[in-house]
């Protein structure tokens, strides 16, 4: 029996005795859905710190976004090495997770019970923030329009 034949038999054997769990393909597709989905609710930019004096944070900029029954406030600061730090909070408070995309960079952070999250070192550039939160038992996916960091 040639090596190739033997390897083909091994392949068939492993497929038969140790196949993937039946739900694995669907689990993968579900896991990818938020990454691939273009149906996230788009938040609207409500305010920037330079047009709303009262919201200006000390030493940084703020952006306020609003969606259906949810607000997102971002405070953007600079780190000593020229990167950006983002402190965010959502109201009403809800647990979840955020992903910030700047070019090919991806930063992820959990959103705690108080609705707060922090991304401590992200590059400057045009950013999009994706937010997944559980509100009243339902999962909602929200996305900001692109904004400069």
């Amino acid at each position: 029996m040639s090596d190739d034949d033997l390897l083909a038999d091994l392949r068939a054997m492993w497929r038969a005795i140790d196949p993937p769990p039946p739900g694995l393909v669907d689990d993968v597709l579900l896991r990818l859905a938020p990454e691939l989905d273009d149906d996230a609710e788009l938040l609207a930019l409500l305010a920037e710190s330079d047009v709303l004096d009262g919201v200006r944070a000390v030493g940084g900029d703020t952006r306020t976004f609003a969606g259906d029954g949810i607000d997102l406030l971002l405070s953007i600061g600079r780190t000593p090495d020229g990167r950006r730090r983002i402190d965010g909070w959502i109201a009403p408070a809800a647990r979840g997770a955020v992903t910030l995309a700047v070019g090919t960079f991806r930063g992820e952070a959990p959103v705690g019970e108080t609705g707060r999250f922090a991304l401590t070192s992200v590059p400057a550039g045009d950013a999009v923030l994706d937010l997944t939160v559980r509100i009243a038992g339902a999962v909602r996916r929200l996305r900001t329009p692109a904004f400069p960091l």
Binding site: D3, W14, P20, L24, V28, R31, T104
Partner: protein, 196 residues
């Protein structure tokens, strides 16, 4: 020609890699449904690669998911669609090894690995109904962990690239060809010695 979801997965030799390359190209060019096809085609192979590192089912599934997530996030770094399967296999392999290292705190020296009988989670022998599969599995289990791992990875690679597999298994280039041959020889001996 694209495969509808739910069709049986073809043998690695009959164009799986080519179909994966086409599905990846289609997805990258803006056909979202092509990702379903790509995931359906390659997930079973990635599962086998993850399980080669002797991860339990949950960790293996996590490693497979992590590889897919990495793909959609770094798709732009894959310049040649034909490389998508190799890229995924390398990624799941790396992820599986990382998880395997994290769950195994005892590292055996090489000699002991060669001598040690295979241990750790394996497929349930009860489900090995087919006679040929049972006979082959019994023979495989007499091999060292390293041989079992290498043969499983090689078996699911259509075009084994020794430099790439070598890097993945942490074996020096030049030894993997002979190692593969030695593992296959041992398997043949075990098959001829075992009960028919």
């Amino acid at each position: 020609m694209s495969a509808p979801r739910g069709v049986s997965i073809p043998q690695a030799g009959d164009g799986l890699w080519d179909r994966a390359a086409r599905a990846f190209s289609a997805w990258y060019d803006g056909r979202p449904e092509a990702m379903d096809e790509l995931v359906t085609l390659l997930t079973p192979v990635l599962w086998q690669i993850a399980r080669a590192s002797r991860l339990d089912a949950e960790d293996a599934a996590d490693a497979v998911q992590a590889a897919w997530l990495a793909l959609v996030r770094r798709a732009h770094t894959i310049s040649d669609p034909a490389a998508v399967a190799a890229w995924l296999i390398t990624t799941v392999r790396r992820e599986a090894l990382r998880r395997a290292r994290a769950t195994r705190d005892v590292v055996l020296p090489d000699g002991m690995l060669e001598a040690a009988p295979a241990a750790g989670p394996g497929p349930d022998e009860q489900v090995v109904a087919h006679d040929e599969h049972r006979r082959l599995w019994a023979a495989v289990r007499t091999l060292t962990e390293r041989c079992q791992e290498l043969l499983r990875v090689v078996a699911f690679e259509e075009h084994p690239d020794y430099a790439r597999i070598s890097a993945r298994l942490g074996m020096p280039v030049g030894s993997i060809g002979p190692t593969r041959a030695r593992c296959l020889d041992k398997l043949r001996i075990a098959l001829s010695a075992g009960p028919a």
